[in-house]
Amino acid sequence: MSKKSFRQAVNEALRQEMERDPTVVLMGEDVGGGMGAPGEDDAWGGPLGVTKGLMSQFGRERVLDTPITESAFIGAAAGAALRGLRPVAELMFVDFMGVCFDQIFNQAAKFRYMFGGTAKTPLVIRTMYGAGFRAASQHSQCLYPIFTHVPGLKVVIPSSPYEAKGLLIQAIRDDDPVIFFEHKVMYDDEEDVPDDPYTIPFGEARFVREGEDVTIVAIGRMVQMASKAADALAKEGISCTVLDPRTTSPLDLQSILESVQETGRLVIVDEANPRCNIATDISAQVVEQAFESLKAPIRMVCPPHTPVPFSPALEDAFIPSPEKIAAVVRSVMASPTRQAAA
């Protein structure tokens, strides 16, 4: 056990799985870096240095730099997965999925079902998401709801370094295509992370804290925001459960329902745009299955339905903050308790 950053946790998971299993290969733009260039090899390790050192350790046969050609290499990763490799492909920013989405949702996602269960596609696509980097409209989106919508894909959104390592190792060992989301402003976050490999199963939510008054379900980076809000609310005597679903596909609805049955109040925090996102999805399912338990309307804390603006002044206002979350929780606590249906 030692303190590791999110970046180190991801790097270590990749390294340990590559050491364990020779069929694991990495590919992506500048995942090593310096191909054909006069200076250092392995010069980049991706734009934010997450895969640094892996090309030096495992060589160019297993860490493959690609031209800028996402359709071709993401599709090649899917094809290789059908034929015995376990590729981990890096789609640098999730915003670039627009270039290669066919290979993901019509190809990789469909093989298992469409081929009548005769195919396995052990593919991981790692990708950066999220606002807060001043990276503007085409480098700041979440987009995980779009992948969650597609049957056949597993969607993983780790909320801390510990979560990232265990969930990534699980993803690599999984036989279905997994989209693995890394929030670009979380790479320097640190916490204690075991040195040995470990896995965290998909579809099992994490209770970050348990309380009696309100259940807050938060996705990815929003788990931190919700926890901060819960700290502040605790001082005011409002006790919150904070639940991290970890994976939006599969989704641990059971844990959410159980928590709502206890608290009777639900707030969902999602950094994705508010229409057809994870918050609306969870909300609909809770209303359908636990309507009687709700003492107050469900509230969602999301950004507005706009692209992510560049200007720091606007981007800060775009992102759900602990203050906004706390304010919404207070309003839920203040809404008159709903009477059981007659």
Binding site: E29, D30, G33, G34, M35, G36, A37, P38, G39, E40, A43, W44, P47, D65, P67, I68, T69, E70, S71, A72, D95, F96, G98, V99, F133, R134, A135, A136, S137, Q138, H139, P304, H305, T306, P309, F310, S311, P312, A313, L314, A317, F318
Partner: protein, 328 residues
């Protein structure tokens, strides 16, 4: 290539070309300093070293013509006539930026001026240029479109598809491949399989290779493509070999480059120095003409930065404007 059509540019045109190249250079050098000091956030990709390409190409264009740019777009913007102060304010995220501070360095645009946007998506511009060319052709404006794209972008499916479409639809488009040697840290000699000019020929359009450190060579090379596009004969392609002076983005340690590579390029290949030498030796311009421009450009950049820093950030309601959804 002598006698060069390019040197037949008149005095005023040469001064304009010099002013634009110098403006781009000073703009980028200053953005580099401001970024290093923390005044500019986000991703910034500098065009310094490549000025002769944008200017040599855009000297042929007027306001009815369009360009589609890239993430490395400041030079294209300036060469296409975007307001320098508005650009600087945009990069600083201020309300009076060209896009109200909402776009930033990677999304500067001035559609009315025919600048269809820098682009955060590599290969995103070529299809848009085809569309602009289709509009010009259909509406009979006489306009043409230029698709700028890097060596990295040249390997993107959108680029290949656009080149084919342009031939099939006989569009007035010129594809300008700005090969600055690298896409991020990856050498173009590694990433481009085969020969870029032969690819263009394979799509049925003429292609030539040009030295992008030489304004006159670029200007000259654009002559036939422009004439062909304006005559309704279809697309052309330029493979421009050039270099960038800074990292891929600001903050790039550039360990993939050879030691001393940039110093050597600056000393031996600089497009602005070459231009100065050429025009003064030919005695078409004098040192003092150029020195006067240098001073004016420095003042303009200084004033742009001062104004940008003093300008207000966009007010909170700006977050919710420019979308069709209305908020209470």
């Amino acid at each position: 290539m002598e006698p060069s059509r390019a040197l037949q540019l008149n005095r005023e045109e040469l001064l304009r070309a010099y002013r634009q190249m110098r403006t781009i250079r000073e703009f980028e050098e200053r953005v580099h300093t401001e970024f290093s000091s923390g005044a500019i956030p986000g991703f910034v990709h500098l065009y310094a070293g490549e000025e002769a390409v944008a200017v040599g190409v855009c000297m042929h264009l007027t306001e009815r013509d369009c360009i589609a740019s890239t993430h490395r777009g400041h030079g294209h913007c300036i060469a296409k006539g975007c307001d320098v102060k508005g650009m600087m304010a945009e990069i600083f995220g201020r309300a009076d930026g060209l896009c109200g501070g909402k776009g930033g360095s990677m999304h500067i645009a001035d559609v009315a001026k025919g600048m269809l946007g820098a682009n955060g998506i590599v290969g995103g511009g070529a299809p848009l240029a085809c569309g602009a060319a289709l509009a010009a052709k259909t509406l009979k404006t006489g306009g043409v479109a230029v698709a700028f794209g890097g060596d990295g972008a040249s390997n993107q499916g959108t680029t290949a598809e656009s080149m084919n479409l342009a031939t099939v639809w006989k569009l007035p488009v010129i594809f300008v491949l700005e090969d600055n040697g690298y896409a991020e840290s990856t050498a173009s000699s590694w990433s481009i399989g085969g020969d870029a000019v032969k690819r263009a020929e394979g799509f049925g359009m003429p292609g030539v290779r040009v030295d992008g450190h030489d304004f006159f060579a670029v200007y000259e090379a654009m002559h036939d493509p422009i004439a062909r596009a304006r005559a309704g004969e279809g697309p052309s392609f330029l493979h421009v070999k050039v270099n960038r002076y800074y990292g891929h983005f600001e903050g790039d340690a550039q360990t993939y480059r050879a030691p001393g590579e940039v110093q050597r390029l600056r000393a031996e290949m600089d497009c602005i120095e070459r231009f100065r030498k050429r025009v003064t030796e030919a005695k078409v311009l004098e040192e003092k003409d150029l020195a006067a421009i240098d001073r004016e450009v420095l003042e303009l950049i200084e004033e742009s930065v001062r104004a940008a820093k003093a300008a207000a950030y966009p007010p909170p309601p700006a977050l919710l404007s420019d979308v069709y959804v209305s908020y209470p």
